[in-house]
Symmetry: C2
Subunit: 155 residues, 2 copies
């Protein structure tokens, strides 16, 4: 894993994801969003949507992968990159592996629920048939601030 | 985890899942299926469907959880049990946790891709906010034979 760090410019796909996360918060959804990029083009941009309709699998990464697979016409998103505002959980890391995502860029680390650099560390086991290249820390401060503000308002 | 063992009777929900897995194989999908039971009633029964339409997240457990959440009208399937013919992968174990499944029953162990008793062991980390009770080995021989035959035919 490479730590891209806060001093790197935030790519357009991550900027779009941060905007989509902000919109999700306004809808009462946890502000997390993901974009999938193929050949420099954003082909899917999805935020968390677990509440309406109720769907415990409706995390941003799952929704973006499903949308991208429909667009690409294949269950394997070979050569596609995924940008997400928060470190993926075990469910989403597993989906990223199944989808053969080439590069994973994420914003904030998630010590409480993440499964890339924390906990299950899904990509680090022999049972993981495909691991993406991983770049952490892009847009980290904005992603983390948004989540903090969201949960503070709900307390 | 309890090993239910091959000598226990196979509950109806697992029998239905084994039948659905068999039907999936006939459609060219990997023969794995899952059932969700609430108050003794099967409310969702889904097989793997990753190919048409292409969906790398279309594992039986994910599909059954999404269907059950729509029926229950909540993203939390409190008190619901999930029966699946194969040990869940990391993606599906994560979804089972998010959905607050009470009891997980699975058939065959999956040393190559499982994430319950193998690899990522998703339920065993602090980052896993809910772990179901786990019962392995129900219908194990039939589930494993079906998978072996499917992959043998494809070689």
């Amino acid at each position: 894993m490479s730590g891209a760090g806060a001093s790197w410019p935030v790519p357009l796909a991550m900027k779009r994801a941060l905007e989509a996360a902000r919109s999700a918060a306004a809808m009462g959804e946890v502000p997390i969003a993901a974009a999938i990029v193929r050949e420099g083009e954003i082909i899917a941009l999805e935020a968390n949507a677990t509440r309406s309709p109720p769907d415990p699998t409706g995390h941003a990464e799952i929704r973006a992968i499903r949308a991208a697979a429909a667009i690409v016409g294949s269950e394997r998103l070979v050569g596609c990159d995924l940008y997400v505002t928060l470190e993926p959980c075990a469910m989403c890391a597993g989906a990223i592996s199944h989808a053969r995502i080439a590069r994973l860029y994420y914003g904030a680390s998630d010590p409480k629920g993440g499964a890339v650099e924390h906990g299950a560390r899904v990509f680090e086991h022999d049972q993981c048939l495909h691991a993406p290249e991983i770049y952490a820390g892009l847009g980290e401060a904005e992603a983390a601030d948004m989540l903090r503000a969201f949960f503070k308002d709900r307390r």
